[in-house]
Amino acid sequence: MNASYSRTLRLDLRADVLIIGGGLAGTWAAVAAAREGSRVILVDKGYCGTSGVTATAGPGHWWVAPEGREAAIDKRLGTAYGLADRASMARALDTTWRSLPGISDYYSFPRDEQGVVQYRGLRGPEYLRGMRRLVLDSGVTILDHCPALELLRDDQGAISGARGWRRQAGGDWQIRAGAVVIASGGCAFLSHLLGSHSNTGDGYLMAAEAGAELSGMEFSNYYGIAAAGTSMSRSMVYTFGDYFDAADRPLPISQGPGFTDDLARALLQGPVYCRLNRVPQDIRARLPSVQPNLMLPFDRHGIDPYRQRFAVTLHAEGTIRGVGGLRVMGDACQTSVPGLFAAGDAASREAIAGATSGGGAQNSAWALSSGQWAGTGAARLARQRAQSQGRLYGLSLANKPYSTNPRPRLDSAALIRQIQAEVHPLDKNLFRNGAQLERSLQALDSVWDAVRHGTFSDDNPLRARETVAMAATARWCYRAAEQRRESRGMHQRSDLPGHDPHFEAHLRVGGLDQPWSRRDPLPQPSLKPLPESVPS
């Protein structure tokens, strides 16, 4: 339950590095910054250890032995469609390979039947519980239930901390820091994707208020299967699924690259049911110790998924399993704003995934790697920088309302439903066309106008910020999708199938009241011809 937000009960702290977000990327960032000798504070809007999409899942990592890396990279370059680079992929693979064995004191890596230690896949709850302990043992201060509400900059224009709310303790907090890492996750617009309800794009909003650019936001239309009405978006078992319509007629939905599109088309026609009778008996018995949460919905609703059919759905994954996020540059995941770094799903993953979601394994490797790169970079910058002692300026848009006249009181829940009505439906976001994107952008512009002309109630300042963040994020996603007038990777437009050489480029977006976009052509033409786009 929420405690009051008041600027009179301030917790005032100083750090070299402030990390915003305590999921996979944030915890790795904190560990890396502390390793550099920095004083580090990590704030999480929820609880570092359970917040975010890793803690509730079972992340595999992009885990490839040195001898296999060239082939692994070549394979991924094939689906990146020109927008990833070999060097970043090699660096992420190397960082992941070197990092995981180092946390053996904090995560009990199991051995397989041959006695070989299994590093690649970890259980989410135990992984993040272990990372929390590692972060604390590294000397980092963790502030749970302390959502950041705005970034602060100094007289020189560099980011110098943040301010937020102590939603359980009451009052607000301000942390003055030499550098800030945004590790607040992606945004799935409160779909029921497991663990995603803390990932509402807050970091994108805060960074954009500071002038940061985003990139790859058009690649934000990944969907994942779950039993209808549940959050259990763990997909492994569905590889054995058979699918049926309401009349129990088999549907032509099979595993492989076309799975999501086939399922989505069927769902647009009516309910789709699944049966898991092809799961072998020995695996059924083992599933609770492989994925302990997988069977909870079935067991608790009295469904035998191996015999009975059950309805399935697709949950939008937005920029979580999608690619887009804050544009990061150089070896340290620096954003386009001085003093501000980004990591994990908060950062664009184009460097290793390009135009196609890399899936969970690449995501985890990216969070682990970019987290450490950003944490190290932030620590080194903070060391060079004389910490500003002067006045700090809050950057929240809420400080700059459209008008100071009495403003209408806003209903967050209604605004969120309006945003979801544009970004969740399969026929608007997965299957894209220019006319629909224009209509959605108009609807989202209206939401934005309402947000800027109205005022939110004061009892939950976080929900107000989340609503604004989702409105802004939706507009960036669709603006980029509208501007990329071709089909590439996961961004497929029925009005513009196939690649256009003009879009051998990254699309940058940004701005809040005046959103903008820019096409940055790739530095060099690709040496190899690009593979044909996969038809949707």
Partner: protein, 115 residues
């Protein structure tokens, strides 16, 4: 969504209040946590996992609250299922609940081969 807190099982540690990532629960005046903003629950089951007393129950319906019979749920053996299957706390050294997450790769391969 989170539906039930069994006050006679709860030891008042308030760990669930701390670990809930969406701040659904709060410390009650009698020591037993209370469900505050139920609609903010994301049905992630983390509170159950961290409750060593198995005093909480999350219904898998993530869209709307359900009317449940607390006695029936209690007798169903479902309380503590997630924590036990995860091999936490007193289940840590029980070989029946060892971490076999690494088998995922093999299971995927088997599914593909079965096509």
């Amino acid at each position: 969504m989170i539906e039930l807190i069994y006050s006679d099982l709860c030891n008042g540690c308030n760990q669930c209040v701390t670990v809930c990532p969406t701040n659904v629960l709060s410390a009650g005046t009698d020591g037993v946590p209370v469900i505050g903003e139920q609609s903010a629950c994301q049905t992630c089951f983390m509170c159950e996992l961290y409750c060593a007393q198995d005093a909480l129950y999350v219904d898998p319906d993530c869209e709307q609250p359900r009317q449940l019979n607390p006695r029936l749920i209690r007798n169903s053996g479902l309380l503590g299922q997630y924590r036990r299957d995860s091999g936490w706390d007193e289940w840590a050294n029980d070989p029946r609940h060892a971490n076999e997450h690494w088998r995922m790769d093999g299971i995927f391969a088997l599914a593909r081969a079965g096509k």
